[in-house]
């Protein structure tokens, strides 16, 4: 609802700004329960030539932000508000939308200011707020964007393609002026191009924020889990993730948000995943895909997905239930209990801002579809974009699922999840996607069957597919994690071979894959392996961990991813799951990078070993992963065809081609089914 006055809330609402020079036209959302203050602030912002939207309640502000993902550049919020604590709102915004938030209060005591800092506020203004102070708030927007851009640029366009969805957000942020067009231009795969565009438009102010795509988030979660959520420090996480272009600061801020998120989730334990799980339809979450794994599981649990599937997935995936990862509250909920996962996930989701919705999203679908489908679904979800959105819209969950289901069904049909996989996973793997990590397991099987990874690919990065993949056979730790784990800590790269872990998966896959295309599978595995490995390693040592973390990650990521990736369709996330579904989101780009790294590594390392495992593993994910991970080398083969997100995928593929060539060789990825995917 547009409470605000103007708010253009529309992503490219900045139309007004377009005519003005940045920072003019900056879209500010100001939240304060005091009407006098609100009036004054609005007037001051207008005087600064900003577009101000007033809001006197935090809930309303949140819905405004959710409805208009790219509608605002920055948020000003009072600390003391009757309906919701300002810091809580700050948390939500940071997690869901990753917008810069400035806190205000008449209270200037150090501990309150410190609280603002620790919760991630960009700045803290003491009331009464002066005009001069407001004049400079644009710097926070630029700063955030810069971080995003940096990652994007570094990751090299792969994400861009994916980001498409996400980018728009960024674009919006950057400069209301450029908005609309900005984003579009961003979509083009090239970051550089976009960056250039952006620069032109906004005078390089508009650097995209780091988009935490599902994949990236998964990678992050995997890394964090590996380190142990308590001991996870940004520096180490950064190292583990090994995502080019990602800075320690990015990780640090994301970690903070993640912690808050986890805290929230554990509090929410079982909130009704089911409905709300679906999260926001706004699918902008490109990250949905990443989320998918986690969410899927969660969702699956939530009942959306057939419990059995979920269970199967989870069992397969997690086998270990080691959710040790940070996600633990989540993981536990989601991952293993495959009943619970849904709850958990749902809860987390729901609470989390209806992220669960997203999860549900997957759930719904998986049931119908085999894991592959799920994966596809995810991908499809990407297309839905909305569905996947993991977060914030609880109600959407259902719809999302439906939506997802739709795409999936399509993909499934296409992919033809050959059931073989299904057999693997006890329940319809479809869930895998959902399951936190386990989805990997599921996904895999599906994947294999599906015609060559296509399921995943087909969906275009919808993570869902990936998820499903995860669930499958990967069992071996890696299996699960890899798929789901989007970004599985790169260190894993060797994951591929996780063999023993993944081996199991592989088996599943192999069987299935054989039909499909070994090559692709191998690659997929690799990719997925990578993905999983990283995640697996980090998380699951047992597989489950990975899945869990993945799931969690996904969930978490989804949320964020969704927010960020709004632009990019789920695709990227899907890829992540599989290996790195290149979530369209912008974040995916950065993430994709991460994935790539992971993939690359996998390729190198285990290619030979993993091949088997990976094959199985990858098969599912590979299509996706490949796209992403492969820096383009093999992906090209796979993706483009199937995914809806062709753009993203192709972008990814292109990138991958360069990168992962190694993998290709080993796996013979060319044959990767992606192309074949029934899509």
């Amino acid at each position: 609802m547009n409470l605000g006055v103007k708010s253009g809330s529309m992503p490219s609402s900045s139309s007004h700004g377009s005519t003005q020079q940045f920072p003019a036209g900056l879209r500010v959302l100001v939240v304060d329960d005091d009407p006098t203050c609100l009036m004054i602030l609005e007037k001051m912002l207008r005087t600064c030539h900003y577009e101000a939207t007033k809001c006197n309640r935090a809930e309303i502000a949140l819905s405004l932000l959710r409805e208009n993902r790219n509608g605002f550049d920055i948020v000003l919020s009072d600390v003391h508000m009757p309906d919701m604590d300002g810091f809580k709102l700050l948390e939500y915004i940071g997690l869901e939308m990753d917008l810069p938030v400035i806190m205000m209060s008449a209270d200037d005591s150090k501990n309150v200011v410190m609280k603002g800092v620790t919760h991630g506020a960009c700045d803290y203004l003491i009331k009464p707020v002066r005009l001069e102070a407001l004049k400079n708030i644009w710097q926070h927007v630029v700063r955030k964007r810069k971080h995003v851009w940096k990652d994007i640029e570094q990751s090299g366009s792969v994400e861009d393609g994916k980001l498409q969805q996400q980018l728009p957000d960024d674009a919006d942020y950057l400069s209301s002026a450029n908005e609309g067009s900005w984003r579009n231009s961003k979509r083009k795969k090239d970051e550089e191009e976009d960056a250039e565009d952006r620069d032109d438009d906004t005078s390089s102010l508009k650097k995209p924020r780091v988009v935490w795509s599902v994949e990236l988030h998964q990678q992050f979660v995997a890394a964090a889990n590996q380190l142990g959520i308590d001991k996870a420090v940004p520096k180490k996480i950064l190292e583990l993730m090994n995502v080019p272009g990602l800075t320690r600061e990015n990780v640090a801020s994301h970690l903070q948000k993640y912690r808050l998120y986890l805290r929230r989730l554990s509090g929410q334990h079982q909130n009704a995943l089911n409905g709300s799980f679906m999260g926001n339809p706004e699918a902008t979450y490109g990250s949905i895909s990443s989320f998918n794994d986690l969410e899927l599981q969660a969702y699956a649990a939530s009942g959306q997905l057939p419990a059995q599937n979920l269970a199967a997935l989870q069992a397969a995936a997690f086998g270990r239930s080691s959710t040790k990862s940070v996600v633990s509250p989540l993981d536990q909920r989601n991952l293993f209990s495959f009943e619970t996962p849904k709850l958990r996930f749902g809860e987390g989701q729901q609470q989390h801002m209806s992220n669960s919705k997203q999860v549900n999203f997957l759930h719904g679908i998986p049931t119908n579809m085999e894991p592959k489908q799920l994966a596809n679904f995810h991908q499809a979800a990407n297309s839905f974009g909305i569905n996947m959105q993991v977060g914030s819209h609880g109600s959407q969950g259902n719809s999302l699922m439906m939506q997802m289901a739709q795409p999936q069904s399509r993909s499934q049909i296409q992919n033809d999840i050959n059931g073989s996989y299904v057999s693997r996973l006890p329940s319809s793997i479809g869930q895998p996607v959902v399951s936190n990590g386990t989805s990997r397991v599921l996904t895999r099987p599906v994947y294999n069957q599906v015609s060559q990874t296509s399921p995943v690919a087909g969906f275009s990065a919808q993570h869902t597919t990936d998820l499903s993949r995860n669930s499958f056979p990967l069992r071996g730790n890696s299996g699960i994690s890899s798929l789901a784990s989007k970004v599985i800590p790169r260190e894993e790269t060797s994951m591929q071979i996780k063999g023993p872990q993944g081996g199991s998966n592989y088996d599943v896959f192999t069987a299935q894959q054989q039909q499909q295309q070994h090559k692709s599978q191998d690659w997929n595995l690799q990719n997925s392996g990578l993905a999983f490995d990283t995640s697996q390693q980090a998380n699951m040592r047992g597989n489950l961990d990975v899945s869990q973390s993945t799931l969690v990650q996904q969930t978490f990521l989804s949320r964020d991813a969704i927010e960020q990736s709004r632009n990019s369709s789920v695709l990227p996330s899907v890829l992540l799951q599989q290996g790195f579904s290149s979530s369209g989101h912008s974040s995916s780009s950065s993430f994709g990078k991460g994935i790539f790294s992971g993939v690359e590594e996998i390729g190198h390392r285990n290619v030979p070993n993993i091949g088997q495992q990976l094959n199985a593993y990858f098969t599912d994910t590979s299509p996706r992963v490949k796209a992403e991970m492969l820096e383009g080398s093999f992906y090209n083969n796979i993706l483009p065809d199937q995914y809806d997100q062709e753009d993203l995928m192709s972008a990814l593929l292109k990138h991958q081609q360069e990168g992962i060539v190694t993998v290709e060789n080993d796996f013979d990825f060319d044959g990767y089914p992606l192309d074949n995917l029934p899509v």
Partner: protein
């Protein structure tokens, strides 16, 4: 008329009834909002009246809930400071300090003082705005820095 307005404004500032924030508000006033400051003041008096009622009620309870009083006063202080009501704001700060010290008598005493300042300012602002309306918007906005 304009000169009277300017001198009235100066006197309010010098006496500490208003502070720089008030000046900022006046600077925000422009042709699109010719009575901006007056509107803000009206909004302030509306809200603060409500807030003071809450504080009155809280002060009537026994024993006093200092935390709640502190929070209520915090809100009130925020409003007052946003309009530039300096003396009122100072009393609010004092009140909060007594709350934190758990000093009931100090709270009540300060609150009485606060109310007095509040009423005084209100009267003065009413006179000010009346003059401002007579003087015309230009004058109000173009106040010498």
């Amino acid at each position: 008329m304009h000169r009277r307005l300017a001198s009235m404004r100066k006197s309010l500032l010098d006496q500490g009834f208003l502070d720089e924030q008030f000046i900022q508000l006046e600077e925000l006033q422009d042709d699109s909002n010719p009575n901006f400051v007056e509107e803000i003041a009206a909004s302030y008096y509306r809200d603060s009246a409500r807030q003071m009622l809450n504080i009155d009620q809280a002060l009537d309870k026994f024993p006093l809930d200092f935390t709640k009083l502190d929070n209520l006063m915090h809100q009130f202080k925020g409003s007052s400071s946003s309009i530039g009501a300096k003396k009122v704001k100072n009393e609010s700060t004092q009140f909060q300090e007594y709350c934190r010290a758990g000093n009931a008598e100090g709270c009540r005493r300060t609150y009485r003082q606060l109310k007095k300042e509040y009423a005084t300012l209100k009267k003065k602002l009413e006179a000010y705005f009346q003059l401002a309306r007579q003087a015309g918007p230009l004058e109000t906005a173009s106040r010498p820095k």
